[in-house]
Subunit: 445 residues, 2 copies
Amino acid sequence: MSSQSGGAKRQARVLKGFRDYLPEQMILRQRIIGIFRDIFERHGFEPLDTPALEYLEILTGKAGENEKLMYRFEDAGGREVGLRYDLTVPLARVVAMHQNDLALPFKRYHIAPVWRAENPQRGRFREFWQCDADIVGSASPLADAEVIAIMAEALEAIGIPEFVIRISHRRLLESLGHAAGVPPELATALYRSIDKLDKIGPEGVTRELTAAGLSEKQAAKVLELVTRRGEPLQLLAELREALAGIEGAEAAIADLEQIFRVLPAFGVAPKRYTLDLTLARGLDYYTGPVFEATVTEPKVGSVGGAGRYDGLVGAFLGRSIPATGMSLGLERIIEVVREHGLLPIPATVADVALVFFPETVAPAAQLASTLRAEGLRVDLSLQPHRGVGDQLKLADRKGIPVAVILGSSELEAGSAQVKDLRSGEQCGVPLAELATAVRDYIDRA
Amino acid sequence: MSSQSGGAKRQARVLKGFRDYLPEQMILRQRIIGIFRDIFERHGFEPLDTPALEYLEILTGKAGENEKLMYRFEDAGGREVGLRYDLTVPLARVVAMHQNDLALPFKRYHIAPVWRAENPQRGRFREFWQCDADIVGSASPLADAEVIAIMAEALEAIGIPEFVIRISHRRLLESLGHAAGVPPELATALYRSIDKLDKIGPEGVTRELTAAGLSEKQAAKVLELVTRRGEPLQLLAELREALAGIEGAEAAIADLEQIFRVLPAFGVAPKRYTLDLTLARGLDYYTGPVFEATVTEPKVGSVGGAGRYDGLVGAFLGRSIPATGMSLGLERIIEVVREHGLLPIPATVADVALVFFPETVAPAAQLASTLRAEGLRVDLSLQPHRGVGDQLKLADRKGIPVAVILGSSELEAGSAQVKDLRSGEQCGVPLAELATAVRDYIDRA
C-alpha cells in the first residue's frame, strides 16, 4: 500500500468510443456469442483467431477511403502497424500464408473486436465486435446461400422478431448500368449513389447520378430497374428479358437464381429474404452477390451483411481464390436484444450465496466445494465477521436468487437454512439435500 | 476481381511475436477457456471486459520498468494511448469508475489478450492471453485462499499431472529482512534477488545482496530464513518464534495461517501448495500474500500467479480498497496440454460431412438442416460437381469422422449411405434414422 499512496491519484477514465463491459452486459454478450458460435459450428465452420496488430500494408491494400479510420502507428521496432479494421482482410492473409495447412473450401468463423477511429455516435463505437462466417475456396452460389442461411438462423435464434436479408449482385448492378448506357468508369459512383436510396430518396440519387455524369434519362432508367419489386425468381426472369444480351447479366442472374432456389431448402422462410437491387454495399472488394440484414422492427437498420469477394485472397496470394461470407455486428444486435428484452438473462452468475459465521468458515468452504461439485454456482461470502443480515443484503443486491445460511448449531445437526431472497421464504434442509433444495427454489422463480 | 488484379501483390506475413490461431489450435484454446470459465463461474465470479486501448497514464502508473514494454502511441486525436499490458490495472480502473454499480466484494474474471513488446522467445509472445480471477473489496485471507483454490482447480481440470502453488507473503519477507538487519530502503533489492534463487543459486543471491549493500552475515541470515522448508503451519510456528517482536511479522504469519488452514476445506490437496518464502514476484504493486503456480512435470516453470495488491485501486480512487487475485497464462498452459496430449480434442468441428450430387443439392441442404436440428454439426459439401470420391477425400483430409452420401436413387427410396471415413465401412440407412446412425459411428471411434 505504501508504494501507492505516495503518488498523485490517477484519473480513472476510458477513451472516447471505448467501453467497459460490466458483468450484466458481459453475461448477455457471452450468451449471444455462445448462440452464434453454436450455429456456426453446426454448419461445420471452424474457429480462427488472428492478431489484433498487423503490418499496416496488410490492412490498407484495398480499404481505400477507410484508411484514415485506422488505428495506425510505428512500433518500437520501426514497423508501420495498425489495429485490425475488420476480420475479412486478416482471413485473406491467413489463407495466403497457410494455404498448405488449410483444406479448401475452408469454412471459418471469427468472433473478435475490430477498431475504427470513427466519430462515436449512438450504437457506434471505436472498438466493436464482429461475428463473421466465411467460406474460402468455393465459387458456388451454394456457398453464398449457406452464409445467408447462417445469418438468418443467427438472427432467429436470438429472437429478433422482424428482419429481412436484402440480396443483390454487384455484376447485375453493373449490367443494369450497361443497359441504361452508363459507362464502366462511372460504375463505382453508381453503386455509391444507389446504396443511399434509402437515405436520400430517388431525387437525391438522380441528383448524384447526373452530377457524376449520367444523363437524366440514364438515371431514370437505372432507378426504374433497381427499384423493381417482386417474388425473387419471377423478378429475375423479368430482368433476364430486360437485360438480354447485356454483358455479365446472364451469369449474375443465374447466380442469384441458384441462391434463391436453395434458400428454402436451408430452412430460411421466404419472408426473411428479398431481391433488392438498391443494395450495393460500400466496400470495394465485393465482386458478386452482396447481402445485408436489416432489422425492420424495431427500426435499427443494418445489423450485418457481406458478400462475395473473389479478389481479396488473390491480392495476397497472387492467384485468385473465390470467397464469400457474412458479418454480424454484435453491438447493434445487443441494442435490439436489450431494448426488447429478447433474451431474459440473470443479472449475475451465481445461483446461490453461501452465508456463514466466523466459527463456520472451514465447513462453509467445504460445503461450497460440495455444492459446486453438484453443478451449482456458489458465491461464498467473504464477510463472516459482518453478520448474516449484511451478508444476505449483499447477496440480494448482487441479484443472487437464493442463499444458504450455515450456522454452527445447525451444522452439528447436519443441516443448513435455505432462503429465497426474493420471497423471503426460509427453511431448514439436511446438508445432503441442499443442492436439490436450492435448485427447487431457483426453478420456482 | 478486376479491382484487385491491378495492384502489386501484398506480402502475407504477421508481426514478430504475433500468431494466427488456426482451427485445430483454436478448438483446443476454446476448450481450455471454457473449462476455466466454468470454474470461475462455479465460484460465482462474474465476467468483465475492458478496452484493448487505454489512456497511457492509466497503464503506466506503477508498472515501473515495464513501461518500455508497452505498445504506446499517439492516436489521431492527439491522445497518448497504449495497448492493455495486463488485466489487473484495468480492473482497478473499472472499480474506481463504476464504484456505485459494483457491490463489493466484487469477484470478477477476465479472459483476454494483453500486449507486451518483449523479445519473443519459445513460449513467449507479444500478444498473449491471460485468464484472471480477482476479488476486490475483501481484506480477508479467505479471499486469497479462494483465488488460490481456483488456480488449483483450473490446473487440475485440464489434467496437468504435477504442479505446485508456491505461497509467500510480501510483509513476511520484509520482516525477514528486518530480522536480518536489512534496512527498509533495500527491501526491493532484497525481493528481486531472492526471486532469482532458482536461476542464480544461493551464491548468486549472496553476490547480488552484498553488492546491494548487505553484509555477508545479513545475506546468509536472510537466505537461511527464506529457504526453510516444511509443513506450512509448522514452519509458520517456527517463523513466529524466530521473528518475535519484528514489525509486521505477526500479522503476515496470521494471514498465511488462515490461508493454509482453509485451503483443505476448499478441496485443495496438500501436495498442491507449499509455503515458499523464496517467492517474491516482480511487480511493485503486491502488498500481502503472493503465489505462483509452477508445473513441475513437465518442467515448464510458472504458468500463473498473482497475489494481494491492496494499493492499486486506491491509486485511481483516492481511498484504499483491498484486492487479491490470480492470473493464468494461457500460452504456457496450452504448451503443456499439447505436449502431453492432456485434452484429446478433435481436429475439426464437424461431426459429419454431407456429400451429394448436382441433382440432389436442394434435398442435401434440407437434410443438413434436419441433421443440425438434431444437434449434429454438419459440413455440407460445396462441390457436388466434383464427384463423390473427391468430396470424401476432402472430408477425410479435414478430419471429419463420418460422411453421409445422398444420391438421387437412394433419396427416392428414403435413405442415404453412411460411411465411416476411418474404417471405410459403409451402409444404407433410412433418412429418419440417419442422426442416430451417425452418432453410433462417431461413438464407435
